[in-house]
Amino acid sequence: MSTSEKPRIVGAPVPRKEGVDKLRGRARYVDDIEREGMWYGATVRSTIARGFIRSIGFDRRIDWSEFAIVTAADIPGKNRIHLILADQPCLADGVVNHSDEAIVLLAHPDKYKLREAVDAVHIEYEPLPPIFTIEESERQDAIVWGPDNLLKSYLLEKGDVDSVWNRAAHIVEGEYRTGAQEHLYIENNGVIAEHSEENGVTVWGSLQCPFYVHKSLLAVFDLPEDKVRVIQTETGGAFGGKEDYPSILASHAALLALKSGHAVKMVYDRMEDLAATTKRHPSRIRHRTALDKDGKLLAMDIDIATDGGAYSTLSSTVLSRATLHSPGPYVCPNVRVRSRAWATNNVPYGAFRGFGAPQAVFAIERHMDEIAAMIGLDPIELRRRNFLHDGDTTATEQVMRDPVILDQLMERALRESDYYAKRARFVRENPACAVKRGMGIAAFYHGSGFTGSGERYLNSLAGLDVTPEGKVRVLVANTEFGQGTNTILGQIAAEAIGIGYDDVIMAPVDTGIVPNSGPTVASRTSMVVGRLIERAGLQLVAMLREHDGLGEHFTSEDFFAASELHRAAHGEVVSLCRYEAPPNIFWDDQKYRGEAYPAFAWSIQVAQVAVDTVTYSAEVEDFWSVQEVGRVLNPVLAGGQIEGGIAQGIGYALYEKVLLQNGHMANNQMTNYIMPTAEDVPPIHVFFEEIPFGYGAFGAKGIGELPHDGPAPAILNAIRDATGIGFRAIPLLPEDLFSELAACESLTEASAL
């Protein structure tokens, strides 16, 4: 395809590649798969949050000879899960550091015998004092990790914050808190593992990052790379929740496979998945902000603390993204962000869509409304006076080289939501009405791809080959879990080569077949991996033109005919491309300065909320989301990403509370961990402004995480607009509304403020 031609496939609403299989119930998720002679595995977990393991006893009422039993002593390699650090054991050995930590594994041919067996393993502990909050960890009430409980810290400094306070017209302070959030993918975590002397370890599973699991298994089993194979099965939702945890579960199932000599399936039920697997990091973020008399930002002093749980998992990189998103989409000459991730004896927190940004965006965007109220400025106007524009620099002194169209996005959001007219109407109607309505806004960016030098370190390799059956195969380790990897990469390959969408298939995501194109995280698949596939397609065409007589203009038939000539001469038709960073990207990991991300996606969201002052329920009545994510590759999938992210964000704000008791999730059921249903979601209006990004596939930037960043602050800002009360913590449940609103004697007066 010449560059002057209009894309035919990219930008079109082509159907989901694996859609028909999913709609017919034929898609094979891990629990749908059986292996010959397969056994089933289960896990015995700690019932206390911290202590020494004194003994492990096996009740005599069970015939243990029927079972395979695995403890830490059975691990052939290192008893460590290799992620960023390697501090988390695969199985607790002598000590437990959080509730529901795995201690003993059991396998049996009859899965219905496992529950009784798990209950018949008796573990005696010598308890140690646990800590469960950020404050207890900061105070070092107990040292539970490293020398000081500090998992990671960053300091980002621009200008000189402390020189500003004396000359500021306004100084506004605020503290904001966010709770844990469960991914609640509808398919729980699950894997099947096999082991043989000849082939080593093979794992099939519901997972996001096959090479993360691969790396972890190498260490646990002390095997060479070619003796571990990880294959992704159809994955029923992930949202970050299958980024890190599958490394643990895969190790467990593989240990049982080694011990039993059988394939072993481990699929968690909902209660186990909720109790034992990762969630979004809780946070406490403090802002101190100086402004001049016109409401222009002079200084931002930001202190971030997150609860990382008992082991480091991905807390350092989550904290990094929180740090880099904490100043919001604003220009400020003096910025200091001090951030710390603290260890506690809670179940380790991990990756979740947004990865630190939703916490940071909640704080800054709630804070902007508090500032606006304090200095008597309209919250929209305050944001406009401080928005980033082309040529401005961010807190890391990254120059905005690509267009930044926040003003345009804001105009569109205000127009589409009829923001000012609605606000005026609600101000008029609220005093006489028990249901108070309000409008709230959030403005934010989300950095696409790995932070800083991350993509350089990943050094991803991806490509295409042509099968003898006449299909182009996409060779990537990037996984489909609903967000559309198969479809988007299929579109990109077809467009780049100039063949039909149906001429492209996906290679199985199998570490024995595909190259390591990096993890499926960080909104990187379309932009970064898609770009590799685009380049691989162009390279493939150039190769066939040079060596195999492919003409300037060609049909799909011509292309596959030339491919067969190439195969006859070279044995295969393959085109691989390795990551190349966009030019002018510089990042200083020590000073936290430079190009934090190769690209940013931008969004303005507007929430219309109704607060019932009789029932104390808050309901999102309507929602608008305007965003710039570069080129939209598939409008149906892109719209679905935005809507789904917003629904999760609404849950984060108003519904979803992880209730911990002694570090154990007490509401680990769908009955009492509540997510928005079909009756709870408002109409969601989605609008894209498209500015193609020069270094993303056909102009794409990241999209998947962006929409989750804004709903919580937009909704709480709308509740402030409706009630006059600026709530500073999520989740905001009816009981929280009750305690504040009931205390507020004159609501009518407050809402007029």
Binding site: G25, P109, L184, A678, P683
Partner: protein
Amino acid sequence: MSHRPDCRRNIRFTVNGENRNVQVLPMKRLLDVLREDLRLTGTKEGCGEGECGSCSVRMNGDLVNSCLVPVLQAEGANIQTVEGLGASGKLHPLQQAFLDCGGAQCGICTPGMLMAATQLLSINPHPSMAEIREGLAGNLCRCTGFIRIFDSVIAAAADPNHSSEQAGHAR
């Protein structure tokens, strides 16, 4: 290595128009009988307690959570699962609408959602938005935010093939 055979019972029912006969424990969940004994793995388990609706099937014209139905209750019943939707080579109008409108993402809630939508349209061929929301309220989807599922049901209800499909599945 299985349960004592003396506890098992012979249970007969119809699944997707075929007579089936299974020897199982009478309290075994219908979900497990479908998935394990009949290898109809289209029906999914999400929560095991009737909250998420992933295991929804139609039984004698009602929508049920098959994780809450002991198979003995299905004796003689007429059951429809996702595998019974659409003809070979041709999708059911609801399946086609979910494909066109983006009603399925990760796909794990999709079989249950399709059964709930089939049930809704069978009793109310042209539902309002409020009726669609109510009809699908027992089926959780974590990917889509439901919006494109609503669009899919509306599109299927407007599909001229939809009414003939309904006639074909009349009970």
